[in-house]
Symmetry: C3
Subunit: 430 residues, 3 copies
């Protein structure tokens, strides 16, 4: 059991790194994560490669970036906060009047103390982001702008972990490593993924194999799917996009296009079982935004859904400097971790069960049924066991049986263990 405080410490370590689609920051991030789980392989695709309708972009790195006011004082500096620089900005060194400079400055008038997060991946431009309050204080005059950045052929890096199980069928967790210093909408994903890897390695037995992908959003998943589609189609039993999983608010599921794949079913049910209904938000695919966009797209249709706490786009700190280490918490991370371990446990245990007998088995001779029949001698657990048996017909998996009978999942696990041990039921999957 990983605890939230450990996960939170990882986030603090990763916080200052300037991540983007590509570049040094991504590699630095992946190297840190590899320390936690040496199984992590750092892989890459070459700039310029075609991936479906897209092309792997050039690598982007930044050495220095700032703006000086007419008095020569730095008023914006990338080294203070990497959100200050528009992602993928071109290099520039120029003096310009404030009125011209303003065309390149981004602020949030309604959140005057927040630095917005802005990128321009696919069209060359440059720009700075700052607090609207600060913008309003700027005086006329000539400002000096300096960006020492570089775009060049290089690679798009990503991390991959594969943990083999009994079956080639696999469970996939996908998260992203392309945002600079933001906490919920970036770092919560990789740290939860790292904790899941540790959990999986500690399992004594794994029915499924597991794959964890840490990639830049959109272009990363498009590239990976493009290169591995046949294997993914053949092997993926369920997949989960982890995004914004570090706060303590609601638990969100972002369903697939038709909302009925194995990931939808499993996560949807685990939330019902372990989270009070007023804390659950179920979003349709219309509210998608992270890599479920790609995994679930027409023609790809992998059985994925998304998992979030406060979903991207629904909280006002999203994509600003306010999505910081205060917005997330050890407790929030740990709660998300617990939900994901419950998801894994259910996936591992879930199967179609079948009774070994026509008619009711005689539970009494196995010590599972009271020998004296009198009013009130029929406890709740026995009723649950009988109801489980009534629907263990090979057509219902554990989720179906819980839904039909109202038996709680943890109780069902006990019942299945007991009845399997007594050879009353068997998994008809095998």
């Amino acid at each position: 059991m990983i605890n939230g405080t450990v996960m939170y410490e990882w986030m603090k370590d990763l916080w200052p790194i300037n991540r983007s689609l590509t570049g040094e920051g991504v590699r630095e991030t992946l190297k840190y994560l590899k320390q936690l789980n040496p199984e992590l392989q750092i892989k890459n695709y070459q700039s310029g490669e075609k991936v479906f309708d897209w092309e792997i972009p050039d690598e982007w790195n930044v050495t220095e970036a700032w703006v000086k006011d007419p008095g020569g004082n730095k008023i914006i500096d990338f080294s203070w906060n990497n959100l200050h620089l528009v992602g993928y900005s071109m290099p520039i060194k120029q003096s310009m009047r404030l009125s011209d400079l303003k065309n390149y400055l981004h602020t949030l008038p309604h959140q005057p103390n927040a630095i917005p997060y802005v990128t321009s991946y696919y069209k060359r431009t440059w720009g700075f982001c700052l607090e609207h309050k600060k913008l309003e204080e700027l005086k006329d005059g000539t400002y000096e702008v300096y960006i020492d950045s570089c775009h060049k052929k290089g690679v798009l890096n990503f991390g991959e972990v594969y943990i083999a199980g009994e079956s080639q069928q696999e469970i996939l967790f996908s998260t992203y490593i392309c945002h600079p210093s933001m906490a919920n909408n970036e770092l919560s994903g990789p740290v939860l993924a790292s904790a899941i890897i540790l959990y999986l390695k500690n399992l004594k037995k794994r029915k499924y194999s597991y794959r964890i992908l840490l990639m830049p959003e959109t272009i990363g998943s498009i590239s990976y799917i493009s290169k591995n589609f046949n294997e993914l189609r053949k092997n993926v039993h369920a997949g989960f996009v982890l995004s914004c999983v570090g706060d303590e608010q609601e638990y969100s599921i972002i369903n697939s296009r038709y909302g009925n794949n194995e990931a939808d079913r499993t996560l949807g049910f685990i939330l019902s079982e372990y989270v009070s209904s007023d804390k659950i938000k179920r979003y349709s695919f219309l509210s998608r935004g992270s890599d479920e966009r790609q995994y679930c797209s027409p023609g790809v249709d992998l059985p994925f859904c998304g998992f979030s706490r406060s979903k991207y786009g629904t909280y006002e700190e999203y994509h600003t400097s306010l999505d910081n280490l205060d917005f997330v918490s050890p407790r929030g991370l740990e709660q998300s971790y617990v939900i994901m371990t419950k998801v894994i446990q259910l996936l591992e245990r879930n199967c179609y069960l079948k009774s070994n007998f026509q008619c009711e088995p005689q539970l009494g001779k196995r010590g599972l049924y009271p020998n004296i029949s009198k009013a009130g001698s029929y406890p709740g657990e026995l009723r649950d066991m009988m109801n489980f048996l009534a629907y263990a017909d090979g057509k219902n998996d554990l989720i179906d049986i819980c839904k039909i009978t109202g038996v709680r999942l943890e109780m069902l696990y006990n019942i299945v263990d007991k009845l399997t041990e007594h050879s009353v039921v068997y998994s008809s999957d095998e």
Copy 2:
């Protein structure tokens, strides 16, 4: 664009003609309609022919019909209002006491100022209809009754227009021409059908072929189906029975037996898109009454539904002399026309669309996606476009996609045009 005033003028011209299942009035009506659309062919079936369980009736014509009171004054005259004579009345010339005559007089006690509409197609009898108020004023004595009518072997006439399109698959509009002077429950249908023909002829391109039928109700559609069943079954993509389409009240759909054919879906959806929900009445097949009775009957099962404003049988003027030119209006006719053109437009455009790409296409490089990614840079139309693409998987037609995504139909048309132009999607029907 036909305007309602023109349609209303046509109704006024057609008003005085004495229509019935067969006879001169039907031919006169069809000749008038042929002036509007010379493509209209006036066809016929012979009296006595067997059509399914029915037989084409004899032709019926009336020269004169009246009742004189004991003082020799005409108190009822067919030439005043053709509703005065029971449809298909036998000839008679007779003097009779009021008490005997009353067995042949039909009135509406609860609508004392209305002349009821009464017919006796399949059993030979005679009768007159009059205002109940007038009946109560009649004095005892001997009345003279005169009907100069004639039943003879002849023909049942109907009109047919066929407008070829790219496909042999056709859209059918069916309406009736068998009621004497009534406005909503008769003339609104033929004039709307005539306007639709003009609209269709003006279309630059027609995916579907179109057939318009103007026939006596029940026996007309039974005859036509009986003679053309195999072609109808093979070719009809959707069909609509037009009845009572001239008033300004609600918009009604009368669904087919199971309510799920292409006509049900298309008209049902067009009403949802263009009419406020409190003005829409959706009737099940249990409320049928016009020729959808035949087109949708067991063993026929053509994909029809009915379209009405105030549906037959739901308004008190129905089947009386009060269903007159005041009950309908140019505006009501024009609104019905607009709905039908929207139905045609949707049928013409509807198809199963499919993306040319796995994963999301890169809309940015086509100028369809903002190059700068920042909060709020994602306008509603872009969201609609992305949502359309998410469900353009070849399994959903435009109606499905509108329903799933909530995108408005007119917006979807724009999106489809744009994405087709950029070769991002294609119709998987072709």
Copy 3:
């Protein structure tokens, strides 16, 4: 028509007999029932035979059983009420202190005047049941206990009636004969079954064959299914477990596992048609308890459901001496009988009907449609007939048509008779 008073008299006759899974009481009960219906065959299975996961138990008979207090007075005597003795008690003759005796005494503290019903079929023990009030009055001292009972290899008896119909497809009624003196949860079942047999024999025509089974609960049905599974699977069209059918409270249906077999549909619909909705209780299979447990179990899946008035386990007199002849009534029995005859009538009449015509048949020429068409000339029954015809497409049985059209079942019977007589419709089952 059997009346409730007669059924109630049968119950009174059967009341004193000591029934159990096996033994003299069962045979005596079956002999009595055979007097009512000589077709009843008394059959048996041998003790020790394996039936699925179970084994036929030894036969159990009791001669005498009592407890005497320290003063030598009988305080409990099996001859007073056969509930006093725990079912399947071993023989014993022993003196023991009250404190020891108490381990073998069963009472209901919350119902101090009721003797509970207790059995121990599958584990050898002994015991007495008494009123809690009486237990509290017992004084310390040495009590004498005497049970002259005997377990031996023998038989498990059951009764079977088979009434042949035109088809080998059969309707099955199953009820139990294993409880000692209790009225609703025992005798109501066999007497209703006996009345049903009389009813069936009097039918002039039977489409289905009928089988009635009178067996000990659980082990009886398990044995019977085990021995006759292939025939049951092949022949049973619908089956009903009759249990607790003698009181005047609600009408209960206990649905099968998925709630959608022919028995569920038929009984469920008959209750909707003939019972006001506030008197109907619909239980899912989670509330099962009688032999539907076996008939509907996974791997057996026969089309059964259960019928009860106040369902076993829902009323406080259940499984106590208070479930006596006052708890049931002639009226309650007769109401249950009427419902079952309605079920039989519907099963006999139900079929998939089909019109002989494409389009509407011409009802007028058959005298089934008014010849004069005028407002209000369309009575409710005609509307019902037309609606019936609209759905008589070979895909709907009578239940479907009633549900779709809202036509009442008895009216539908009339319509079907009339239209069959006029060769307008025919059963497409044949």
